[in-house]
Symmetry: C2
Subunit: 601 residues, 2 copies
C-alpha cells in the first residue's frame, strides 16, 4: 500500500510505502530533515508535527525525548513514526538542515530621511528638594527646550524612565512620535525600526537604524500559519470552522514575528528594546489575522474588511513579547483582497509617482494588479493559486535547496539550474514556468496546452502526457522529475487569472496594451522568473521584454519607506483612498477575459 506524504511548509509531496518511517520518506524526497543520530531515536532533532493522517503509536524513545504537551499536539520524531495513511506533516524550521529561500531583497529607493520616530539624547537636571518635578515632566520640559513639541510620555516609556535616568546620571535617549515619547533608551542608543512584509507564504523582516535609515539586517522566514492552510481562503475557512481558530492563527504569527525580530536583533547585535517602531504590511487577510480582527466577513461575499484604515497600536496589544512597548503602524488596506502589502508595493516600486502608464503585478498565491494612468489608479486581485509556489504541481516544491529554478530546452537538449547547486529534488514555480514556456517555444505544447509526444523526453505517464525535465539517472532520485499535462493546466489557470485581471483593469481604464509604457513585477516569484518564458505562456500583456522591470520585494521596500519617511506614510493613506478597486468575482468581463487568457499565444 502506498500513500502520499505532504511535507509543509516546504511544499514537497513524496510517495511512501506503508510502515516506512517519516524520516525515510523525507530522505527519499531529499528533504533535509535533521537526523544527527542517523534515525536511532536518540538525538530528538527530527521533530515534526502531524497535521492530518494516521501513524504508528508513539514509541518509548519518543516519550523520553518529546514532552507530553508536544506529543498531545501531534509532534513526533520522524525516525520513529511510521506511515499508516496519507499524511500532512509540518516540518518546523529547527528540524531542517537547510533553510528555505525567502526573498528579502528589493530595489532601494532614495527618499529624504524623515522618520516618524525622532530621537533626542538629552541631559536632565537631577531631581532635588527644590525641583520635584516628576521624571516624565522633567523629560518633556527638556525636550520642549530643544524645540520638540513633546507634550507627553507614553506609559511604556514612563515605566522605564526612572530606572534609566538614575542608572545613567540623568542622561537618556528619547524616541518621540507625534509629540509623544514612545520609548526611552540608554544614552548613545540608536532607536531602531522594524519593517515587516507579512505574506501568506513568506515573511520578510528588516531592521532599520532610524537615525540613518540604514538597513542593519534582513531575514526571511516561512509564515508559520501555513500549517493551518496554504492559501488565504483555506486559512479563513479554518478560522470560520474552528471556534478558537482566529486566536490560534494570531498566536502562531505573533510567535513567528517575535522569532523573526529576535533573529534580526541578534544578527545586528542590538537589544530588542531598541526597536521602537514597526511598520507591518500584509494582505488584508494576514493583516486581520495578525490584529485579531474578525475574518469571517472577509471570506464571504462581498468580502469587506473590518478595518481598512491605517492602524496604530502597541506590540503588547497583539501579544508580541520581544519588545512589548514597541509601537506598530499598519498601512491601510484597499479592499478585502487588495491589502496594505499592495499599497507598500506601489510605494516601494515607485509606481505611486510614475508619470507614464504603468501596470504593477505582485505575484503570489493571490496576485494583485495595479494600473496607473496619469493620476488615476485602479487595482484588482486575482486568485492565481499556489501553483507558482510549486504547489499542486506533480514534482513541485517551494523555492528551497534542491529545487529546479530554471529550465532551458534546445531541441533534444534539456538543461536546468538548481537552487544552491544541490542535486535536484523537485521544481519550484520559476522552474515550472520555464519548462512550460520552453515546451511552448519548441512547439511541444499547443496554444491550449495539449502536449505532443514528439520529443525523446516526452512520454505517456500514468495520468497522461508528461515531459521528463530531470531523469532519475541524472538526479539519483527514485523518480524522474516530470512536467505533466495537468501541471501545464495548473499554470494555464494561474496565469490566466492574472492576465484576465490585467485585461479587465485596462478595459476599466479605457486603454489597450499599446498604451502601456511598462510593467513592474514585484514579489519573490516575480523576481526569479524568466520574462521571455512568461510572455511565451501569455502571462502578461505582450510588451517587449525590456519593458518589464523585476523589482523584487517591493512591498518590503515600501514598508521600510513608511518607516523612514513620514511623508510617504501619509502618502500611503492617499494611495489607498485614491485607488479604485475593481471586484472581479462579480464582473462578467473577467469571466470572458479568463477564458481567453487560458490560451497561450
Amino acid at each position: 500500500m502506498t500513500y502520499i506524504v505532504d511535507f509543509e511548509p516546504i511544499g514537497r509531496r513524496v510517495e511512501a510505502r506503508e510502515g516506512e518511517t517519516v524520516l525515510q520518506v523525507a530522505q527519499q524526497g531529499r528533504i533535509g530533515l535533521a537526523a544527527l543520530c542517523g534515525g536511532a531515536g536518540t538525538c530528538g532533532r527530527c521533530l515534526v508535527q502531524v497535521m492530518s493522517g494516521a501513524m504508528s503509536p508513539v514509541t518509548e524513545d519518543e516519550r523520553e525525548r518529546v514532552s507530553e504537551k508536544r506529543l498531545s499536539e501531534g509532534f513526533r520524531l520522524a525516525c520513529q513514526a511510521r506511515v499508516q495513511s496519507d499524511l500532512k506533516i509540518d516540518v518546523p524550521p529547527s528540524s531542517l538542515t537547510t533553510s528555505q529561500r525567502t526573498q528579502v531583497e528589493g530595489r532601494e529607493l532614495d527618499v529624504p530621511l524623515d522618520p516618524v520616530v525622532h530621537s533626542h539624547e538629552v541631559q536632565l537636571a537631577p531631581a532635588t528638594p527644590e525641583d520635584l518635578r516628576s521624571d516624565a515632566t522633567r523629560l518633556c520640559g527638556r525636550l520642549r527646550q530643544e524645540g520638540s513639541g513633546c507634550v507627553r510620555v507614553d506609559l511604556g516609556a514612563a515605566q522605564r524612565l526612572p530606572v534609566l535616568l538614575r542608572a545613567h546620571d540623568w542622561r537618556v535617549t528619547a524616541a518621540v512620535i507625534h509629540n509623544k515619547v514612545v520609548a526611552v533608551l540608554p544614552p548613545q542608543s540608536r532607536p531602531l525600526g522594524l519593517a515587516v512584509d507579512l505574506g501568506t507564504t513568506k515573511v520578510a523582516g528588516y531592521l532599520i537604524d532610524l537615525k540613518t535609515g540604514r538597513r542593519l539586517a534582513a531575514h526571511g522566514m516561512m509564515n508559520p500559519q501555513i500549517a493551518y492552510g496554504e492559501d488565504v481562503m483555506t486559512r479563513l475557512t479554518y478560522v470560520v470552522q474552528h471556534e478558537d481558530g482566529a486566536r490560534q492563527l494570531q498566536q502562531v504569527i505573533a510567535a513567528g514575528l517575535d522569532e523573526l525580530a529576535r533573529k534580526l536583533c541578534k544578527k545586528a547585535g542590538h537589544a530588542p528594546e531598541d526597536v521602537v517602531e514597526a511598520v507591518i504590511v500584509g494582505n488584508t487577510a494576514m493583516h486581520h489575522l495578525l490584529l485579531g480582527l474578525p475574518a469571517k466577513q472577509l471570506g464571504s461575499a462581498p468580502y469587506v474588511p473590518a478595518l481598512s484604515e491605517p492602524c496604530d497600536l502597541v506590540a503588547r496589544d497583539i501579544g508580541l513579547t520581544f519588545a512589548p512597548d514597541m509601537f506598530i503602524h499598519t498601512l491601510p488596506n484597499i479592499a478585502g483582497f487588495v491589502g496594505a502589502d499592495h499599497v507598500a508595493m506601489l510605494l516601494g516600486s515607485g509606481i505611486y509617482k510614475a508619470e507614464d502608464t504603468v501596470m504593477g503585478l505582485d505575484i503570489g498565491t493571490n496576485t494583485e494588479v495595479a494600473l496607473k494612468v496619469g493620476h488615476r489608479l485602479w487595482t484588482c486581485s486575482t486568485a492565481s493559486g499556489p501553483a507558482f509556489e510549486g504547489a499542486h504541481i506533480q514534482a513541485g516544491m517551494r523555492a528551497a535547496s534542491g529545487a529546479v529554478e530554471r529550465v532551458w530546452i534546445d531541441g533534444d537538449q534539456v538543461s536546468y539550474q538548481v537552487i544552491d547547486d544541490q542535486p535536484p529534488v523537485g521544481m519550484c514555480g520559476s522552474g515550472v514556468l520555464d519548462a512550460v514556456g520552453q515546451l511552448r517555444k519548441i512547439g511541444l505544447l499547443n496554444e491550449v496546452g495539449a502536449m505532443s509526444l514528439d520529443h525523446p523526453r516526452a512520454r505517456r505517464g500514468e495520468r497522461g502526457p508528461e515531459f521528463v525535465v530531470v531523469p532519475r539517472s541524472e538526479s539519483g532520485n527514485e523518480h524522474d522529475i516530470v512536467l505533466t499535462r495537468r501541471d501545464v493546466s495548473e499554470i494555464q489557470l494561474a496565469k490566466g487569472a492574472m492576465r484576465a485581471g490585467a485585461e479587465v483593469l485596462m478595459q476599466e481604464a479605457g486603454i489597450t496594451v499599446d498604451d502601456l509604457d511598462r510593467i513592474v513585477i514585484a514579489g519573490a516569484f516575480g523576481s526569479y522568473i524568466d520574462v521571455r518564458n512568461a510572455l511565451r505562456v501569455g502571462m502578461f500583456p505582450p510588451l517587449l521584454p525590456e519593458q518589464f522591470e523585476q523589482v523584487g520585494n517591493a512591498a518590503g521596500v515600501g514598508a521600510r519607506l513608511a518607516l523612514v519617511s513620514a511623508e510617504l506614510r501619509e502618502l500611503a493613506q492617499e494611495i489607498a483612498t485614491r485607488a479604485r478597486y475593481v471586484e472581479l468575482t462579480s464582473d462578467p468581463r473577467f469571466t470572458e477575459a479568463f477564458a481567453d487568457a487560458m490560451v497561450m499565444p
Copy 2:
C-alpha cells in the same frame, strides 16, 4: 505560651494561646469568620491565608477541601490550623460573615453633563458589491454625517464591529472619545463609565450611565494590597525588597479592580463590556503601583513621581480582564505624596472654585492638606499614620461591624455607639478620637496627654495608665476595651503631623487662622468624626464647629465628575499644575510646628 494573631484586612489583633485554632482565636476576637460547619472542617468556608508565622501541619480535611495550589500559597482552614507563633492572617472577603464598612458616599455636585465619551446609535447601509467600504470606514462615514468629528476606530472596537453589525442588521451604538471610536455596543446599549477612588486602605467604585450622568451602583472594598503592607511606605519597601514585588502588587490590585467592577455591573444589571471608560484616582503610590510604574524613587528622597501627568491607557495595558478594551484616564498627580486623589478631592469638594479662604484635609494614613487663598493653591502631605484606621491602638480595629465608633463621657457616665449595633469588639479611629477628646474635656488628660487616674474607669494597666471604655462585663469579651496612655500618644502624633502641615501651609500663604473662612474635611474617617472632639485634641486650626464641612468621599465624587465633565477633566490638569507643593520633610518650619501641635489645647 501566648502569641499575637493579626487579622488583615480587618486590622484586628487578638491574643492567642499556643495550639488554639485560628477559628477559635477569631471568635475570641469577635471576628465574623464564616464557619457553617461549626469548625468541623467539613464546610471549607473558613478559608484564610497565612502571610507570616508558624502553624500546625496541614490536616487531611484541609487536603480534601483546599486545592494543592491554594495550600502552596498558604491558604488554610481556620478551624484546622493551630497557632504556633505570632501570626499574620489574611481573611478573604468570602470568608467573612459581615463586610467592612467602606465609604462610597460623598456630596454630589451639580455640573452640566458633558462626558468625554459621546455615544451615537447609528444605522449603517449594508455592504454590497457596489459599496465595499470596510466596516470601520462605513461607521466613521456615518458618524461624520451625524456631525461627529470621528476619524478612526480603535483596534478593540474594530475587533467587535463586524460581528455586531451583522448580528443587529447593521445597527450599532458607538462610543467616541476625542474623534476615536473606542467601543461599539449593540443598539440601544448605554455606554457606562467607571469611577474609582483607589485608596491605600479602601477602594470605592461607582458605575455611571454616561448618557444621563446617573449613578447606577456604588461599591466599596478593602485594597487587597493590604496583605503586603498596611501603609504606603511599607508597600513601597516591599516593592523595593522583592524582585517581583511590583508585579505582585500590580496583579493583586488589578484582580481587585476586576472584582469590584464585576460586582458593580452585577448590581446594576449591565454587561462588563458596556463599561467603555474609567477614571481612576489614587494617591501617587497607588497610581504608580497600578500602572506598573517604578516606585523605588517614590520611597526615597526627594520622593519624585515617575509620571505626574494625566495618563490615557487601555484596561489590558494593566492586566484588567473584566473589560479589556475599556479606556482608562488617570487624573494628574501633584507630587510624590500628593496624588490624583487629592486633585479629585479638590474637584469633588468644590474647593477648586471656592472664592473664600478655605483649607481642605483628606484624612487617611497620609493626610493631604490644601489651602486655597484667592486664586492661589498650596498643598502638602503629612504622614498621619494608620492610627485613625484603628491600627497601633491597643483595642483598635478598622471601621467594621462591632467597632466602637462614638464615645461620650459625662462625669462617671461612659456611653458609646457600635457599628451595626453589634456587641463591641474594639474601637475604630473615630471612637478612639472621641475617647481622647472626651477625656480631655473632663480633664482626665492634660495638654501633653498624661492620664490622671482620678476616675472610676481609669486604672494602671500593664503598660501604664489606661481608661476602660467598655468593661468586659458589658461586652462579654475576655478583655476590657481600653484606651491606654500609649494610644493617646499615637493620636497626638497623628493629629500633630496633620495640624503641623496645616500650620506650615498657612505660614507659606502668609495668613493666620483668623483669615480662614472654613475647613473642608474629606475621606471616610473625616466624615465619621465628631469635629468638637477633634478640636478638643487640637487636630485642626481652631475655627468654630460650624465652619467645618464634612464632605465624605470627595475624591470619589471628583473621579465621577472627571467622567461626566470634559471641562472638569481639563480643570484637573490645571489644578495639578497650579498647586504649589510644599515638601514638609525638609522644612524646618514643620519640625517646629509639629512639636507645638503635639500639645492638646
